[in-house]
């Protein structure tokens, strides 16, 4: 998945290629390095999560069907979602994947171990894996499946985020699919190519303030064992099939830290870096469409879940409203907007950019892919702006549900009767506006940074930025209109 870009590197001034500052966390905090090098580290961080997911599924099946009194709805779609999009991703990259329980059983069966490492010879690795070791089809070795999977789930989101049984069904299916795929295909195929959560994590992890990288790329070139990707007696082969010597983006590194354990040269470290300034390269149409889909969904979710239009809510709430024609309109409209209309608008902006900048020598494909980065920080911050009122208005349910997770009448912490209390709802617009404007700033900044890698002539560069920047500003205005009227 990691390739060089000779076109950009041949035309760009050297200073534009220099990465921003970064700070070696393992060097500063040796205890952190010792912690992640423990064989039991991943198991210890996954086990509590496994317990919680198990509790969620039991609660959905045998607890109350009322969403705001069932822990699966409140803890997953209010607490976890907010933490994921507003904290874990921007500050921890794919740290959720470190502790995600979905691949646990698949890994257990593949490795025939929960903690220890098995050496041996499985295709492409120095470890012994159980399973059929099939290669995932090359045609599907991208995030298109994840794009469509997430869009499909989003179509039913009104049911998914309010009905405990629907959430349990989805998680149960994901657990099952992850386990079956681990038996058939190599490594963590589910995480790489199928998991709908992984899809958007891969995109927004580009903005994150941490990265796991090799300290000295020359050491990787000299390394003969390539234990980071092939594994060794100290660590499993990278479940994400990533070679650290060439890793230059966060997208497909799941932060499992196996490479930190297996690297024979102690050449891998965790770095802190500035937000949304490093991984600015979008490499494929699948990633561009993911950026478009996520931005459009932030908009439609805001309309459907936060907006005052009851008609749209009824259209989405098909299992109760039974308005199938309305649901069809909603589903088709959302899909059309995400897959055709918005990508089409973005394409028009790129064509205009080429025309205005008289950039006939720059391939349209290159500009289309590279400038799409501007949608990444914008999309992330739009989702954060959407999630803020979700937490502030509904967060009180977390307190009551913590004491009575199944709605059975428990009162574990004495807070089961804590009333629904929106937290300063009048502050919401004052939080959403700066968040959106921050997304616009980083989107435009990223656009400029990417543009400098393509155009050496400043005048041509700035002309090429105008149409996509106008699109980004337009998107921001739409969100502002939606959030503050």
């Amino acid at each position: 998945m990691v390739t060089a870009n000779p076109i950009a590197e041949a035309t760009v001034p050297t200073e534009a290629l220099e990465p921003p500052w970064r700070f070696n966390l393992f060097a500063r905090w040796p205890w952190l390095k010792r912690l992640v090098r423990m064989r039991s580290f991943q198991f210890l961080v996954i086990l509590p999560n496994l317990f919680m997911f198990y509790l969620f599924i039991i609660s959905a099946l045998f607890g109350t069907p009322v969403g705001n009194r069932n822990i699966i709805i409140v803890f997953v779609w209010i607490l976890w979602w907010f933490m994921l999009i507003a904290v874990l991703v921007p500050f921890g990259s794919r740290i959720w994947c470190t502790i995600c329980p979905l691949p646990f059983f698949g890994d257990w069966i593949q490795r025939r171990a929960v903690i220890r490492v098995r050496t041996g010879k499985s295709p492409g690795t120095e470890n012994s894996f159980f399973g059929l070791h099939k290669r995932w089809p090359k045609r599907l070795s991208n995030i298109w499946l994840q794009n469509f999977g997430f869009l499909f789930l989003a179509t039913f989101s009104a049911l998914l985020v309010t009905r405990p049984i629907v959430s349990a069904a989805v998680f149960g299916i994901l657990f099952l699919v992850a386990t079956v795929l681990a038996l058939v295909f190599r490594l963590r195929t589910f995480c790489n190519y199928v998991c709908p959560i992984s899809g958007f994590l891969s995109l927004y992890a580009m903005t994150a303030t941490v990265e796991l990288r090799s300290v000295d790329k020359d050491e990787c070139l000299k390394c003969k064992s390539k234990a980071c990707i092939r594994g060794s007696d100290k660590g499993w082969a990278c479940p994400w099939n990533v070679y650290m010597g060439k890793l230059d983006r966060n997208n497909y590194c799941g932060l499992c830290f196996e490479c930190v354990k297996s690297c024979p040269n102690d050449n891998i470290s965790l770095f802190v870096r500035p937000f949304a300034t490093s991984d600015v390269v979008v490499r494929g149409y699948d990633e561009v469409w993911k950026a478009c889909i996520m931005l459009v969904l932030a908009l439609t979710y805001s309309v459907m879940l936060l907006g005052p239009w009851g008609r749209f809510k009824d259209w989405a709430n098909v299992s109760e409203a039974r308005n199938w024609a309305g649901f069809g309109l909603f589903a088709a409209g959302q899909a059309l907007l995400a897959l055709v209309i918005f990508p089409g608008l973005y394409y028009v902006s790129i064509r205009l950019a080429k025309w205005y900048a008289r950039a006939d020598s720059v391939p349209t494909k290159e500009l289309f892919l590279k400038y799409a980065y501007m949608l990444v920080p914008m999309g992330l911050l739009a989702w954060i702006a959407f999630s803020v009122p979700l937490l502030m208005v509904n967060g009180a349910y977390i307190i009551s549900v913590a004491s009575d997770p199944l709605g059975w009448g428990m009162n574990l912490f004495g807070t089961a009767d804590f009333p629904w209390t929106p937290l300063r709802p009048h502050w919401v617009p004052f939080l959403q506006v700066p968040i959106l404007l921050t997304g616009l700033y980083y989107g435009l900044r990223g656009l400029h940074k990417v543009g400098r890698r393509i155009f050496t002539d400043p005048a041509q560069l700035h002309r090429s930025l105008v149409p996509p920047a106008a699109l980004l500003v337009g998107v921001t205005l739409v969100f502002l209109k939606l959030f503050i009227g």
Partner: protein
């Protein structure tokens, strides 16, 4: 091995703990001899039911409408009230008991003593759905002296 044991403990232990709470702990918080009656109000169909309405069954299983609930004179009764969907309430007008709100998804316990034989009608006091008028039932308290003739 320790890891496997930990996982098995989680998979087996959690359901056991929950089962114990539901069937032992929550029942035994009341004195021995207490008669526990669990009633769930379902707006869909306007039904009081003794069925367990949970996430797995709510959407497809039609709950059984409660018939008369037999009690004995002298019983100390705890009615464990649940709402499967919306805000309901519970009242026994003859005893001037309630109305007690049962918020959606909550469990509320109400206690009374069945001191005299007869019929005690209970109903939902909160207009909860178009089927709200169907939300009523009866406790039938059997007198001690009438036991053989019942």
């Amino acid at each position: 091995m320790a890891g496997v044991v930990a996982v098995v403990l989680v998979l087996v232990g959690l359901p056991l703990v929950l089962w114990h709470w539901r069937h032992v702990t929550s029942v035994h918080r009341y004195p021995p001899g207490t008669k526990m009656v669990t009633l769930t109000a379902v707006a869909k169909g306007g039904v009081w039911t003794r069925d367990d309405i949970v996430g797995l069954t709510y959407w497809w299983r039609k709950p059984t409408r409660i018939g008369d609930v037999p009690l004995n004179q002298g019983d100390h009764v705890v009615v464990r009230l649940r709402s499967a969907d919306v805000l309901h309430s519970f009242a026994i007008p003859l005893l001037r008991l309630g109305p007690v709100d049962i918020p959606a998804g909550h469990t509320v316990d109400v206690e009374f003593d069945a001191k005299r034989p007869g019929m005690l009608t209970f109903l939902c006091w909160q207009v909860c759905s178009p089927e709200h008028p169907g939300l009523h039932g009866r406790f039938v308290v059997k007198g001690n002296e009438q036991e053989e003739t019942w």
